[in-house]
Symmetry: C2
Subunit: 262 residues, 2 copies
């Protein structure tokens, strides 16, 4: 028998936001969005119990199948990060963009489009409304810019004095041959961890901070908890990084997805 907790789904204002959301006239294919895969809203506790708010960028092909953000390679890296802070359950992850991006240079300039920003700010407001969030971390520049835009609103201004915040590099900012090495990424994350850890009062598990070394260890890439995913999602989808691939056509927002069972 398998006995796995699963995500019972959003409640209250979060549920409303998963029911009514901008369509592909806002997240246009011609603007570099992969809107045909549908919106992917969150991962974690969309029920008012979250203490940590994580902001990412946009969902990829893995997330189009699990229907939760940050559940592929970037997701497992972020999962290790939040667990280092002692959060094993009471976190909420949302993205700067509700739909996947097929062309970054086309899509990123739309971060502050009024309808995109207004909808995203409703997620921020829903996250803070219960008054429980004590820490916020953004991963990557669009996530940071989304957070910054929220903190310029009255609701954002009100929460700023109540939380610990730090910005971190995108979870897959390190690319082979790119300007940011694995070590650079983890050095950046260590600084974020130290800053956030000091400000956290009520983690799920009080734990001394163990920084990253030069590379991720296996323990630092935990599986995505079953309680973050819909019921019945097989275990290999939670413990493997690359089981869904996009069609090769670059910039094709209708890109297809192939799921390869490992």
């Amino acid at each position: 028998m398998i006995s796995d907790p699963f995500d019972s789904g959003p409640t209250g204002a979060f549920k409303t936001l998963c029911r009514t959301y901008p369509d592909d006239t806002v997240f246009k294919g011609s603007d570099g969005f992969r809107s045909l895969w549908g919106p992917i809203f969150y991962r974690g506790r969309a029920n008012g119990t979250a203490r940590l708010l994580v902001v990412g960028q946009d969902p990829a092909q893995t997330e189009a199948v699990t229907r939760r953000i940050l559940s592929g390679q970037a997701g497992r890296r972020v999962q290790g990060f939040v667990e280092k802070l002692g959060y094993t359950k009471r976190y909420l992850m949302i993205n700067a963009f509700l739909y996947g991006i097929s062309n970054q240079s086309q899509a990123l300039p739309h971060l502050h489009d009024p309808e995109i920003e207004a909808y995203r700010n409703q997620w921020f407001e829903a996250a803070f409304a219960p008054g429980r969030i004590e820490a916020v971390v953004t991963f990557g520049t669009p996530a940071f810019d989304a957070w910054t835009a929220f903190t310029a609103t009255p609701a954002g201004q009100a929460v700023l004095p109540t939380i610990t915040f730090h910005k971190a590099l995108h979870p897959t900012a390190d690319k082979p041959g790119g300007p940011i090495s694995r070590k650079d990424l983890l050095d950046n994350w260590n600084i974020a961890l130290q800053s956030l850890h000091a400000g956290i009062q009520d983690p799920d598990v009080a734990t001394p901070l163990v920084p990253y070394g030069a590379d991720f260890t296996p323990d630092e890439l935990p599986e995505i908890p079953s309680r973050d995913l819909p019921f019945g999602i097989p275990a290999w989808m939670r413990s493997t990084d690359f089981w869904a691939t996009m069609a090769a056509t670059p910039g094709n927002q209708r890109a297809n997805v192939t799921i390869e069972v490992p």
Copy 2:
């Protein structure tokens, strides 16, 4: 903006059954089950409000993505059937088998394996526990045999006098060149409809029975209601029959899935 109702998920006993279920030591790959895609539990109201119980056979590749049963071609045919009975919402669909089948001749003999039958009967018991089911329809022989096995139990014996029942052919029993034509299938379904319609007291929409003709009309193949699927599932997944294909290798329970956005 999109404003779609979605399935808020199972409650009570149904939720327990979606959390604790037999694994691939029961639904073995070597017995012809495609257990690596994970279990697919139900479609419709797993919350005690269902008035009609539909029993199908096993989930296919489309359902492995939507994570709800009867959501591809067979599902749209069944949807038309239940809507002809006046049920637009208060139905529950379950399958004889929790996991997909890759090899029917290997898998079907396991219909009455003790652990498979015991788990399935828990779904029947959960469906009837609220006392609201007034009609039951089975599609295909394994579904009928599953129902028959349940009605041999004390819980099944107790509900038999309280419901209208009819068996129908599998929704895709008609195959090109096969022994059952489209007309044969629909004649069979018309008999089932007449029988069930006469016994139904409380449909969602009281509606005169309109039988099928020689083929499905477009109206008789409605889209899968968004309220039966998880939040964020794009509309084309509900209104198209064949957007997911299996790898060609017959009998390969590790068969992969390709999603082609129409």
